[in-house]
Amino acid sequence: MNEITCECGHVNPEGTVLCESCGKPVEDNQHLNGNENQTLLNMRYDGSARRSQTYNRTFIDKVWNFFSSVKVGVWLIVITLIASAIGTLLPQEMYIPPGSDASTHYRDQYGLIGQIYYQLGFHNLFSSWWYMLLLALIGISIIIASLDRFIPLYKTLKTQKPKRHDQFMKKQRIFGKTESDSIDMHLMKENLKKNRYKVTEEDGSLFAEKNRFSRWGPYVNHIGLIVFLLGTLLRFVPALYVDEFVWVREGETKMITGTEGQYYIKNEDFILENYDENDERFQEAIMRNGQPVPKTYQTNAVIYERTDDIVVGKDPELKEVKEAEARVNHPIKFENYTLYQASYQQNEFNEMTFKLHDMDDEDSSYGEFTIDLDDPETEYELDSGHVVVLGSYFPEYELDDGEPVSVSKYPRNPAFVFNVYPPGESDGEPEVSFAGIGANVDGSGENEFKVGLVDFDVRDVTGLTVRKDYTLPFIALGGAIFMIGVIQGMYWNHRRIWVKPKDNGVWIAGHTNKNWVALKREIEKSTKGTGIETPVDQQELKD
């Protein structure tokens, strides 16, 4: 370490630009803050010795210097900003219609641009490795840049002395010389105190300072950002975060996914309420909307806890935990879990009743059978001795290139292939027919019997997100620290005023990190009646 001893006697670390104690510019280091040929001193970090400005030999030095540069930090932020903006031009993959294939969707919908977008990974930008990398680089940059500045700045501000070197005074932005022998230093001191400055004195020199704590604002807010980023990383620890989804039909009791078999939910009722079209207040808007506007989505539920040991296949013993309602904006909370009203499906088929009758006589009957769509049986024996075997079951039936397929496992548009065996002919060839909602096809064209729908029963299904999230407190803590930091740094400013007696009067200088107008106003107020002339702002912008 090549220490630098100032003429005031203070020993400064290598790389110091302005003496920590008296502020005298260290001749050889002025280039570090860009002070050469400048009439005014660059007061950034009070000219303290920053590692990044001092060492540039080893690889570590170079990495450190790279990340501690605000220029680099700003570039990282700007690149992230531009990437994010591009990421909003087309919908992200998670917002494209469910079931569509991203690899073709973008090309089909948006042409060549869509294709390029997809190829470059913008369709999934925010979980792409390079977006994560950008955030990580910003994080690293924040940490290194803050350490590089905070420690020397802290030491310098602690070491500063009231009596400043002439060079330091003269090269402040706010500076004035008063030549007079009737100067009331005592009044000046009182005035400064009245303006809530902390005033110290050395050899007749005054040093007034306020709001030094605001200088720590940026570092506090950066810590908040880091805590926040780390909090989001915790998401990847499985024990801390559960994100599941459960569909529950009305009347059904179901294990809540993600709770390891511990909790069950019963859907008592799902309620969808729309706004009254005759409500005078909203009539016009509802008309413009052209369809009903929903007012409430709500699940009336009962939460149960399983009390016996979990054994596969054994029916659980359940104890009621609570009755609760899940509404949008009002999730159900129990233990560490939260259930959100996230989705619903109205009028899903519950049971369908069919009857077997002669092909050409709707009124004849060989008996009825009812299919429970959650749990269909494989065969139904009718009173007449006929047996109907469920050849295939399509819960949500669609024709795909002429082939019947099911697009989901939810009974939203059920269809069946029935094999009908007349009494006593269970070894023979069955009659095949196809039945669905509004469809009934005779498999061979010469069937004797027909399976006709006589009745059905529907119910609502509610979709709830299941969340357990131990990372939220960290994320909230990060946000809170960030807010404290920005407010601390933005709503207070670090102001300093130096007054130094000279043979035939005084010199006065002032500095603030922001808000020069207020500093000037306070200096003007403080000098009133003291005989000290109001100093000038040496940095008027050139017109």
Binding site: G34, N42, R44, V70, K71, G73, V74, I77, V78, T80, L81, S84, A85, G87, T88, L89, P91, M94, Y95, Y110, G111, F126, D279, E280, R281, F282, E284, A285, R288, N289, V293, P294, K295, T296, Y297, R327, V328, N329, P331, T338, Y340, A342, T465, L472, I475, G479, F482, M483, V486, I487, M490, Y491, K514, N515, W516, V517, D537, E540, L541, D543
Partner: protein, 395 residues
């Protein structure tokens, strides 16, 4: 009920007029002429601004009473609220710095925004379930206040640029300054054209295929660009000059495209009319009016506005938004376009603050950055809603 919402509209109208009058007072206050006491005129300006603001608050609360929820739930309400917050932000900055010139730009910007808002459907709309939360008020009001204060930096930036950009020769800076002025003209053109056609109840209906189904699409301005493969079915309406491109799907896409064409053309006409009358760049014609503005102070006002607005914006548009999203949508962040643009705004002003830390970014460069920031705020307010729209498409 009906009475309350009628009172509410009248209050908004009154506020608009008062702001307009206040603008003239501020304009009078910055004239170079040695009138009796120029600052008296400025004082009347600020008093009128406050009266106008209180009147608009009256609009806000009466409408709240009529609707049963805070009027920040559709585009009209939100943009109007933003205009009101802009006036509020201006009043705050006025009392910190006491410069009249701020009012000469800030109030017209607010006027333009409020008039613009009124072009959207103004009826009271019911709240869908995800909006039924106190966080709606908390989040939207703080976010709008933050944006409004940040926008004051744009106002200051614009003053700075009009005052400082060298108008003796044509440069990139004069070009972009004219472009900003042209954008103002476009907004004004949009307001004028919409108002005129809606006063005449102009309608032109088309039948056009939307996702394979024939749908009736009704334009409220003559169709320069008709819907793709649309057929005009109204009598006496102008037939379109060309069709909107095929990729503009959805019922509204072609209508919005057509409105945009009208605004861009109208803006060009307005801009060039004024420019031909003045016989010089509009920026150059405005420059002498702002001679009295002290660029040093204007620059500081711009920076200060960011310093004050940034924490409020972060709190409202990011933190409160996250708390609410966690409650309503089970995730505090979902990379929805509106959310991403709030984050982009945050990044942008963070970059601004870091750049200000270094020498050389004061003055002109800062002023341009402030213009860019305002463009981002407007983009989030309008483009994201009208073009990109995601979950937040209501406001």
């Amino acid at each position: 009920m009906g009475d309350l919402s009628a009172i509410s509209s009248n209050l908004l109208y009154a506020a608009f007029v008062i702001y307009l009058v206040a603008t003239f007072f501020f304009a009078g206050a910055i004239r170079d002429k040695k009138t009796t006491s120029p600052d008296r005129v400025g004082k009347i300006g600020i008093i009128l601004s406050i009266v106008g603001f209180l009147t608009q608050l009256g609009y806000f609360f009466t409408r709240w009473g009529a609707a049963g929820h805070a009027p920040v739930s559709n585009l009209f309400e939100f943009i109007t609220f933003f205009g009101m917050m802009l006036v509020f932000a201006f009043i705050i900055m006025y009392f910190i710095y006491r410069i009249n010139v701020l009012g000469v730009i800030a109030l017209p910007v607010a006027l333009l925004i409020i008039a613009f808002a009124s072009m959207f459907p103004t009826e009271i709309s019911p709240l869908v379930p995800s909006l039924q939360s106190h966080w709606l008020y908390i989040h939207v009001t703080t976010a709008a206040l933050g944006q409004a204060i940040l926008s004051i930096s744009f106002v200051a930036g614009l003053i700075f640029l009009i005052r400082q950009v060298d108008q003796n020769k044509k440069t990139k800076q004069t070009f972009w300054l004219e472009f900003v002025i042209y954008m103002v003209a476009t907004t004004l053109a949009f307001i004028i054209i919409s108002s005129v056609f809606s006063a005449f109840n102009y309608e032109a209906s088309f039948e056009a295929p939307v996702e394979g189904q024939p749908v009736e699409i009704t334009y409220e301005m003559p169709a320069i660009a008709g819907p793709f493969e649309g057929e005009l079915i109204s009598d006496g309406a102008m037939s379109p000059l060309f069709q909107a491109p095929e990729w503009m799907r959805g019922v509204d896409a072609a209508i919005k495209f057509n409105t945009m064409i009208w605004s861009i053309l109208g803006g060009l006409v307005l801009y060039w009319l004024v420019r031909l009358v003045l016989r010089k760049r509009i920026g150059s014609a405005l420059q002498p009016l702002l001679r009295k503005a002290n660029p040093e102070i204007v620059d500081e006002v711009g920076y200060r506005a960011v310093a004050i607005g940034f924490p409020i914006f972060t709190l409202g548009a990011l933190i409160f938004a996250m708390i609410w999203a966690q409650q309503a949508w089970d995730r505090f962040w979902g990379w929805d376009p509106k959310e991403v643009w709030a984050l982009i705004t945050f990044f942008f002003y963070a970059a601004y603050l870091h750049l200000r830390l270094s020498r050389g970014w004061q003055g002109t460069k800062s002023a341009w950055l402030a213009v860019g920031g305002f463009a981002i705020i407007m983009f989030n307010l309008l483009a994201v809603n009208l073009i990109i729209s995601g979950l937040h498409s209501y406001a």
